[in-house]
Chain length 294, copies 2
Amino acid sequence: MTATLKQLRAFTAVARTRSLAQASALLHISQPALSVAIRNLEEALGGALFNRDSRQLALTPEGREFLDRAEQLLHNWDQSVDAIQQRFRLERGQLNLAVIPAFALNRLPDLLARFHGQHPDINIVIEDIVMERVQRAVREGRAEIGITFRPDDLGGLEFMGFGRDRFIAVIPATHPLAGRESVTWRELSREPFIAMNRGSAVRRWTDGAMAESGYEGRLLCEANQLSTIGQLVRAGMGVSVVPELCRPQMDGYGLCSLTLRAPVVEQEVGALVRRRGAISASADAFLEMLTAAG
Amino acid sequence: MTATLKQLRAFTAVARTRSLAQASALLHISQPALSVAIRNLEEALGGALFNRDSRQLALTPEGREFLDRAEQLLHNWDQSVDAIQQRFRLERGQLNLAVIPAFALNRLPDLLARFHGQHPDINIVIEDIVMERVQRAVREGRAEIGITFRPDDLGGLEFMGFGRDRFIAVIPATHPLAGRESVTWRELSREPFIAMNRGSAVRRWTDGAMAESGYEGRLLCEANQLSTIGQLVRAGMGVSVVPELCRPQMDGYGLCSLTLRAPVVEQEVGALVRRRGAISASADAFLEMLTAAG
DNA sequence: CGATCTTACGGGATTCGTAAACATA
DNA sequence: TATGTTTACGAATCCCGTAAGATCG
């Protein structure tokens, strides 16, 4: 014979009301059922919790001590169960994201605003970091979801693409090419080039495209952040090529964005997760929104 | 559908072993039973605790959080249940006694030594106080058991006598009466009398006996404590009458104790409790020893 | 194939509710 | 007698174990 949750709830109800009749009404069970429940609990604990003299029940000293413990146990129980249920209902939780800056700056805010509107009690942590560090953050568990271009080496992670990004050329609005719809790498090579720093994925892809196109322009300078590059272009230092994701940002700087050809540089954008099934309910909800929205 | 203790124990076992097969062996239930238990728990909580991809289980983020809570809940549960069971098994507990000094000094030590030998982990608190305060201590719940003479007014308390006490005369060992077997109040009245202070029960009874016997001796002095009275008698100041309970004590002072007649002063000694059924297991055990031993 | 988890189903234990007996003011 | 608890017993529910099915290495 072992004590049960129901028995504990029954016990606290009886202890509060000092009456089986009243307690049975509270618990929505019959008086006799409550009577045997209490008796079974007492048997499980090895002694009496109530005195049955006369027709009203009174706690024994042991019952009085156990009442304190029982109420605390039940309180902790209900609290713990509710906490997890809230997590599953997305009424509570944490969403840890690692996002490349191009996405974080241009696409993420609206997505997160929508997510936050639907699930206002989920805390959100964004690591806006470069692609390599996004992979690391996901692999090491600091982020449940990474948003990045498709990596060359997944290293055991899962990648779910939800969009394609064609790189674009960005030039000053006053530039002679500004009226054009599209431009080729060769045409760009007349202007000094402002590139991402070596070692970055964007730089690797632009370098590859330059080699493929026979580009022969001058590489004027390098910077770590796309916003810096944008400002350098705006200042008339030269031109650059950036992910299409950044178009709103570049528009904001007053730059002209042109479709880029010969070759087209296209990368898949998507979500990176450790294992698809192993993410939290909040992360899963966001992932669904992500893949649905493209 | 609601979560259950068994389900929580099942969950922690599975989380530890990461295997239904191993956990089912630990829990002494079949694999399928464990499978449905976990599934029911997940249903009750509103989401998955494990990932079932491949053939080994891995905790979800929610499962990982719930594991901490579950282990703490179970630990608290087991601890609380065990604490009460220990109380009922007399492996733990408290025994609060209020005892008149005559009993506390002469009879209680051996009784408590025996009780402590049988139940070494029960803490004992003794209030050795005068009869009126014994009644108050029991009535106010500071003591579960009082040991005293039968009070005139029970005031709602219960008294269980377990012995009778015939008051005795105490005289110096060098006194002419010292060889006698018994003595009467009248014979005592030749000597100065050393009495308990007014207001004490012993004094009330000795006063009554004096009146009944036509005692006409001198009341030389009064004291609060029987040990003081004993020492005064030993110093040759006079004689006194004390409860028979005190005979060992008086013997220890080197005094001579004589049976007292005309009238015999006899009082019932017993245990005073709030309500017979409402005392703790430890108090009940001691009460049984008390009434059995006389 | 072998190991593991899941599903299906029959048997057994537990628990509940109704009805009757019991106790007390 | 009225109120409230306990006991008795039939019924429903829940839980477990065996057996069969499914999945992956």
